[in-house]
């Protein structure tokens, strides 16, 4: 089974590159090599596992947010619809790692802080 090199980047600068097979999700691939990533529902509903696509194939993701959605579609196949993400999140390059399987080598920002970027405090 084909696999792709997925580089995980944590906010503290730590990185790990793992080979994730096309028939497993990034979360499953990380668990296989005993890397703990945040998750909750594992069905694409809760957003706890959210990552942000940083680059595909070693090239930087466009220069911006507007091409992120297309980049995510090129980089991953979803097992089921990513219900926890709104269109604006998908366009910004966010990806649900519990249901996304890689289709190319890529780099992803991971860790719980990525999930907290999805919504802000509306009163502040």
């Amino acid at each position: 089974m084909t696999s792709h090199d997925v580089t995980l980047e944590w906010p503290d600068g730590r990185t790990r590159t793992i080979a994730v097979r096309e028939d497993e999700t990034v979360l499953e691939g990380a668990e296989r090599v005993e890397i703990g990533l945040p998750f909750g529902c594992r069905t694409g509903a809760c957003g706890t596992c959210t990552g942000r696509l940083l680059a595909i194939d070693g090239t930087k993701r466009g220069d911006g947010v507007d091409t992120g959605g297309g980049d995510v579609e090129a980089a991953f196949a979803y097992r089921r619809p990513p219900r926890a993400l709104k269109d604006r999140h998908r366009d910004d390059g966010y990806v649900l790692l519990c249901i996304a399987s890689p289709r190319t080598d890529c780099r992803i920002a991971v860790g719980s802080s990525v999930h907290t970027e999805l919504v802000e405090n509306p009163w502040k």
Binding site: F39, A45, T48, R83, T116, E120
Partner: protein, 465 residues
């Protein structure tokens, strides 16, 4: 262990033969007040989900006995087998509603994972050292097209009913899942499709009525609170009144804009009563509901004003996220999570609650922002009251993704449990400055703390037939 002297529910079998007794719990709410001893242990839902701490959520056993060497400490932790649960609300396999059921014990805690949809059963026969007994895996739950388990109550014949907030995909409609007394899924309790949204519920069997409230679809509230969802009508504002025996909705009350996100819903404890209250978290109101001429009505009876804060762009809503009724039905307590208030209203006349007292602690405006030198990272949230109504306890986490939005520091510092001494005669509360349980010091890293239960039944779970 030490529990058997205080725990009615854990009495060995032979005791039942000697006394002509009866099932779990107490015969009446008044008996619960008179016959119960002071709470010595608390079970508290504790969680790591959504943080970078790579550990399972757990149920904390907290020592509440002031004479104990380990007072205010977490003396045991029952860790869940998997990560990612978001332990939230939980309940007993039996309560005072089964007081007549000989041989049934208040012994097993049903502990659902809000995000995982995994349902754990903990055997708490040994009150200080409970053990995980059974796990119902999410796939088994999804088969009934349900997810996101929330409130657990027992049905008076030994079965267990759990409100479920979503379908298998985390969308609407939600429903109710029934477990049998062997902790296996019995099936759906209601004909599917009776309701859209679901959240908390309470039943009053003598009146053959159940009331349920509304949060939102799991996919809406899981990622965090988004004002766009309010504008799109994705949050609830209705109460559903059910025929308890038939499992069908008889009446739905739309609370309107002042009743946005009705969360915790409580009937008075008196089994004859048809009065109850629900807190509307987003619109910061409390509604009184009651039966009048075979129909339920709901009226707004408490209103919390938003407050201006220099560092916030818009007036900050109070966000009353939890309410509870004292066992004698005299007081309604609540927590305004954003403002940082714990409040107490006299509800002797339920249509006209009279403000008795409040405490300003934690949150965005709290007059006290630390206890014993420990900075408070969030406002008061889940409450629990002693059966005699003299001690009020609370924790500070609401829901991991909502915590991160409104109190991001809580992820680094963890939750606390605090306590106030209540004088029910005078209607006053005073913060107990000697009491602090700190989830910031857990071995794997800071954890959040949510719902609180006593081994012997409490003001937010016991129901009478």
């Amino acid at each position: 262990m030490s529990g058997s002297d205080t725990q009615r529910g854990a009495e060995p079998e032979h005791d039942h033969e000697h006394h002509h007794h009866e099932g779990p719990g107490y015969a009446t709410p008044q008996a619960a007040i008179e016959e119960s001893e002071r709470e010595k242990l608390a079970y508290v839902m504790s969680l790591y989900v959504g943080t970078d701490v790579d550990a399972s959520d757990f149920v904390a056993v907290v020592d509440l006995d002031p004479d104990s060497d380990t007072y205010c400490e977490i003396v045991d932790r029952i860790e869940m087998p998997e990560r990612g649960d978001e332990l939230h609300h939980f309940g007993w396999n039996a309560c005072s509603s089964s007081c007549h059921m000989d041989g049934l014990e208040r012994r097993h805690l049903i502990v659902p994972g809000q995000r995982s949809s995994r349902i754990h059963v903990i055997d708490a026969k040994d009150r200080r050292n409970p053990e995980l007994e059974t796990v119902i895996e999410p796939e088994e739950v999804f088969e009934y097209d349900l997810s996101a388990p929330h409130t657990v109550h027992c049905i008076p014949d030994g079965e267990i009913l759990i409100s479920m907030l979503g379908d298998a995909d985390g969308e609407l409609p939600g429903g109710f899942l029934e477990l049998n007394d062997d902790f296996e899924i019995e099936g759906r309790w209601e004909p599917p499709g009776e309701i859209e949204m679901n959240y908390d519920y309470w039943y009053q069997p003598r009146q053959n009525v159940m009331v349920s409230s509304e949060w939102a679809a799991p996919k809406t509230y899981y990622p965090g609170f988004d004002l766009d969802d309010v504008e799109d009508g994705n949050y609830g504002q209705r109460l559903n009144f059910w025929d308890w025996e038939e499992g069908t909705v008889e009446q739905t009350i739309d609370l309107g804009e002042e009743g946005l996100i009705p969360l915790e819903v409580r009937f008075l404890h008196t089994p004859e009563s048809t009065h109850g209250f629900v807190g509307a978290a987003l619109s910061s109101n409390v509604f009184h509901f009651y039966e009048d001429d075979n129909e339920y009505r709901a009226e707004k009876v408490i209103d919390f004003e938003s407050r201006e804060h220099d560092d916030w762009d818009m007036p900050v809503p109070a966000l009353p996220t939890d309410i509870l009724i004292s066992m004698d039905d005299r007081y309604l307590f609540g927590s305004n999570w954003l403002h940082g208030d714990v409040w107490m209203y006299d509800i002797s006349d339920p249509s006209n609650p009279r403000r008795a007292d409040s405490l300003s602690v934690g949150g965005t405006f709290g007059e006290r922002q630390e206890v014993q030198g420990r900075e408070l990272a969030a406002g008061p949230q889940m409450l629990q009251l002693s059966l005699d109504g003299e001690r009020l306890y609370w924790t500070t986490s609401l829901f991991s993704s909502w915590d991160d939005q409104f109190y991001p520091e809580e992820a680094d510092r963890g939750s606390v449990m605090l306590k106030a001494d209540v004088d029910p005669r005078k209607g006053t509360m005073e913060l107990d400055e000697d009491f602090l349980v700190d989830w910031g010091e857990c071995p794997e890293g800071p954890a959040r703390a949510h719902e609180i239960r006593w081994p012997d039944g409490d003001c937010t779970s016991d129901v009478w037939q």
